[in-house]
């Protein structure tokens, strides 16, 4: 379990993290989502004891990492794919890391095998692709078989196969009861990986809730309805707080009623409906909504996020 209390980091006149409070629970994948420069990496470095908080504190299993007797066995972190001396081989890097905690060589071989690095383990890290660097970072994070795993942008630079692998890995680790804290600026990745989401923008927590709640939390549940009597159905559904939008000739999008209420109304008045699909705001939409005032670097070109159907996998 990771707990941040009033955690603040100020660099000169710039506040990177502004007094955040959050708890990362064990047994689930907690996503840490935010735009670039929002304070994700700074927060993670403070968890790892690499950056000293300006004020406040962050603890892992109740104490700051500097107080842990065997830090590598408690917390494993991938903070930067290239947190490795470029002229050393992956194997020797892991061997040196393992030596600090008397982790046996067998474990070094195991994490190399697990992360698919066996082919390149004896090669210099400097020649690694970004994806290979990420795998080595993950191998190092898992070296001590830690209870808490922190991964900063782990899917960066991974091929699609690697992305799926990371997704399965973090879910598996959480299912074993470990604390998994995963940052990303990729909302789509979070949508399929995380159970719980902490959204950060400009150093402040703007949401901390189960992922489902964040997606539906805006109260914008919509339902797509196809019927051969659209005008009749519109009349039936009309009411306060309900809006109906005609999208095609026989296709309506209803806001403010749940599918059951729509079906009940249609059944009572003998209007046939042949599609009834609950739509959810995509995580992209929810995220854009949450962070629209918090983006550190506004891009000049607004990127449009396409709505995605819920459960559309």
């Amino acid at each position: 379990m990771i707990e941040a209390r009033g955690l603040t980091k100020v660099y000169g006149d710039k506040t990177a993290v502004a007094g955040v409070n959050f708890t990362v629970e064990a047994g689930r994948v907690t996503g840490f989502l935010g735009p670039n420069g929002a304070g994700k990496s700074t927060t993670m470095r403070m968890i790892m004891g690499l950056d000293r908080p300006t004020s406040g504190s962050v603890t892992v299993n109740g104490s700051p990492l500097t107080k842990h007797a065997a830090p590598l066995r408690d917390v494993g972190a991938l903070l930067d794919a290239k947190a490795v001396h470029t002229s050393r081989s992956a194997y020797n890097h892991l061997l040196a890391m393992a030596a600090t905690h008397s982790i046996p060589k067998k474990r070094v071989h195991d994490v190399i095998e697990m992360t698919g690095l066996a082919e390149v383990a004896r090669k210099k890290v400097g020649g690694f692709s970004l994806g290979m660097g990420q795998r080595l970072g993950i191998a190092a994070a898992l070296l001590g078989d830690p209870q808490t795993v922190i991964l900063d942008e782990p899917v960066n630079g991974l091929d699609p196969e690697g992305v799926v692998w990371v997704r399965n890995l973090v879910k598996y680790l959480a299912s074993e009861g470990r604390t998994v804290f995963l940052s990303s600026h990729l909302m789509s990745e979070m949508a399929v990986t995380a159970d719980h989401l902490i959204v950060i923008g400009r150093g402040r927590i703007i949401a901390d809730a189960p992922i489902q709640e964040i997606i539906t939390g805006k109260g914008q549940g919509r339902t797509r309805v196809r019927t051969d009597q659209p005008d009749r159905l519109m009349q039936l559904l009309a009411g306060t707080g309900v809006s109906v939008e005609v999208q095609e000739r026989e296709l309506l999008e209803v806001k403010g009623l749940d599918p059951r209420q729509i079906a009940t109304a249609a059944l009572e008045h003998q209007v046939m409906i042949y599609e009834l699909t609950p739509l959810q705001a995509s995580l992209e939409e929810a995220y854009m909504e949450l962070t629209k005032d918090e983006v550190e670097y506004h891009s000049l070109i607004t990127t449009g996020a396409d709505p995605v159907e819920a459960g559309g996998k």
Partner: protein, 296 residues
């Protein structure tokens, strides 16, 4: 058994292979004790090709300069034998030309091993390795102390061994010119030990500079500034202050420490020892404090 690139699912076998975990979420198992951190730093030290190249270069330079110096000294003494004035100058210097031959490459050895000291820490920061190192050892000081032990021990051993090798190469050359060099004489042994300690001290200063500056070029330039530029600059700047201050530069502590008798207008041996000690202790302590305080 696995495909050439990826195992597409995490392997439970791998994840379960680690040490036992107690129920409350904190692990049991060995932590980063100093001997373990020292072992880790030795692994890091010997698994870099650049380190081994620098150590090898030190030996080559020391032996090469020893041989060259033996030949040069022989030529000089032959000339001196025909020139009474030169012979008088030699006599004034204590008479034994040969004893300094094995350590004649020391100025270069100190530069190489001092740079190694700088690189040992600065490369951690320039490559990002520091984040891995200090995540495993969050108290930081054990890792710094381990690096200090590694670089000081290695520098001492490599300097001593290459001085000895240079001695073995020099003896037959000097013999040709009728000059005797007894490697077992107390002055030879003193030269070897003092110079090895001195180079180890320079390496420690280098490590401190690398820790404070965190940049390889900057650290090495500072080292060169302290050991090569400052002595010359202090000589060129007029004024009694710089003449006096020059004696206290770390590079000027070796001669007083190895002198047979105290030479006027230099430090006493014990003073030189203290000065060199201070040049090591102050930067090392400062580096330790700053490493502990600053963000990685």
């Amino acid at each position: 058994m696995s495909s050439t690139t990826v195992e597409s699912t995490p392997s439970p076998r791998g994840a379960d292979a680690g040490p036992q975990r107690s129920g409350d979420g904190t692990s049991s198992g060995p932590g980063p004790s100093f001997p373990r951190v020292l072992n880790s730093e030795f692994i890091k030290f010997r698994t870099l090709l650049s380190t081994l190249i620098l150590l090898g270069s030190t030996i080559v330079v020391m032996v090469g300069f020893g041989a060259l110096s033996a030949w040069g000294t022989g030529q000089f003494s032959e000339a001196a034998a025909r020139d009474p004035q030169a012979a008088a100058r030699i006599a004034a210097q204590g008479g034994d030309l040969a004893v300094g031959v094995p350590t004649s490459g020391i100025a270069f050895a100190q530069l190489i091993l001092g740079s190694l000291g700088v690189l040992l820490m600065s490369s951690e920061f320039t490559t990002g390795m520091a984040r891995s190192t200090f995540a495993a050892v969050p108290k930081r000081i054990p890792a710094f102390a381990a690096k200090l032990v590694v670089v000081v021990l290695t520098s001492f051993v490599v300097t001593a061994a290459s001085t000895l090798a240079a001695g073995f190469v020099s003896v037959p050359i000097l013999d040709n010119y009728g000059l005797g060099l007894d490697l077992g004489s107390s002055q030879s042994v003193k030269m070897l030990i003092v110079n090895s300690i001195y180079v180890a001290a320079v390496a420690a200063i280098g490590l401190a500079l690398g820790t404070l500056i965190r940049n390889s070029a900057g650290g090495i330039m500072s080292l060169v500034g302290l050991f090569f530029v400052a002595p010359i600059a202090f000589q060129l700047i007029p004024g009694d202050f710089f003449v006096e201050a020059r004696k206290y530069l770390p590079g000027n502590t070796v001669d007083p420490l190895t002198a047979l008798d105290h030479v006027p207008d230099t430090l006493e041996a014990w003073q030189a020892g203290l000065v060199l000690g201070a040049w090591v202790v102050v930067p090392v302590l400062l580096a330790g404090v700053m490493l502990k305080r600053r963000d990685v």
